[in-house]
Subunit: 136 residues, 4 copies
Amino acid sequence: MPFLYNRSIHFADTDAAGVVYFANMLAICHEAYEEALAAAGIDLGSFFRDSAVMVPIVASEASYLRPLAAGDKVSVSVAPARLGEDSFEIRFEISKVGPRGGKTAVRARTEHVCIDAKSRARLALPPGIAGWILAC
Amino acid sequence: MPFLYNRSIHFADTDAAGVVYFANMLAICHEAYEEALAAAGIDLGSFFRDSAVMVPIVASEASYLRPLAAGDKVSVSVAPARLGEDSFEIRFEISKVGPRGGKTAVRARTEHVCIDAKSRARLALPPGIAGWILAC
Amino acid sequence: MPFLYNRSIHFADTDAAGVVYFANMLAICHEAYEEALAAAGIDLGSFFRDSAVMVPIVASEASYLRPLAAGDKVSVSVAPARLGEDSFEIRFEISKVGPRGGKTAVRARTEHVCIDAKSRARLALPPGIAGWILAC
Amino acid sequence: MPFLYNRSIHFADTDAAGVVYFANMLAICHEAYEEALAAAGIDLGSFFRDSAVMVPIVASEASYLRPLAAGDKVSVSVAPARLGEDSFEIRFEISKVGPRGGKTAVRARTEHVCIDAKSRARLALPPGIAGWILAC
């Protein structure tokens, strides 16, 4: 079952068009990914700064379907899926919650590959991440 | 009593020094201000986009006492005080919560002035804001 | 011929992994798009805030091929192409310049649709944008 | 003589009020600081990531005097001054350039302290930084 992350749209997320800046939508998705990892008991501090193993994002795509404005309450669903020994994808949907909510505002996807921080050779996913994906 | 806002430090808040980028500490304070207004029943959408009246920040100051890293849980206290007919200040403290928390990481202050959006002449604070400050 | 935009990687672009945060790569592409429009004589102030016509980004995709760090000098190529009466895409490539540069660090694509700001009905591209695309 | 850094205001710098978000003004100042160091021959990559010595910002203050909008061209002056063996301040002024420019939009100040990355004990400024301040 996808993890759900609730959040308000902040003023800093928006731009002069009055709505969330497109690239900030991806940052909101990454926030939801971090919260999903934390909820699964994975320590973010060591996960993102472990000097030996890294899991960078190698690709992203997004469809921006409806604008979001400061003060809007949104829910972000986070659905990871294994792609191979050393990689996985996450599918995200951001929807406005509340009286006029429900419809998807953004649909996004990120692709992650596990590598050795020094050689940048591909490595099998760490057990914590592999377990989180299995459990979703 | 100051409003308290709880939040995790996200990866997007940090920089290559491994901790929160100094200017993002002020953005976290502004987020807490927005949440305080929302909790007081003030509609952020219209507050920040009302075409006739604006309440821009005219000054800020901050002391960065302790670094914060991705995954840290913080609490932000928001204490507004009236400065005059048309202005107020907010004092913020960001503290890490949890086993090694408690000490203040950032102490900040912002100053806000109410103006007419067109003429930029100073205006008395709107009742919603004035009431929020009184109630704190 | 694609427009070229040169820029340094700033500290604010990076995160605790020591390199540019993935979503900020798209923000750097958008910066290059703005500079391309400005170089073509299009006034950004009115373009992005014109109340009647808007040209929002409806989709983005990116491949993050090589990391970039604070202090790196990069060149961003901006190649727009018409998709229809009311839409266009832009292809971006971010490459490091200098002694160890040349290889593409990021390849990205954004899709833009022209709409009526009120009804959100699709509109033909404004002449300024259409002319910019033709001239590239 | 203060270092001058020229830059356009980008869409990502703005918020739904249509002008630059207050905290982003400080990020623009930091960009100018980075460009001043680079122009003085200081390698940013090693300066900001040197594992033994760090020069964090311990305080900031800013007055936001005039709004800036996307497309505005600004000039940022960077004037550092030694405060002690282990610390310095930088005074910044952001001004709009061009036909209606000239007046200061933002006046800011940051305070920097050199510390040992592990013990966080104060250290004398590194020669590169000390030399840059002397030469300004």
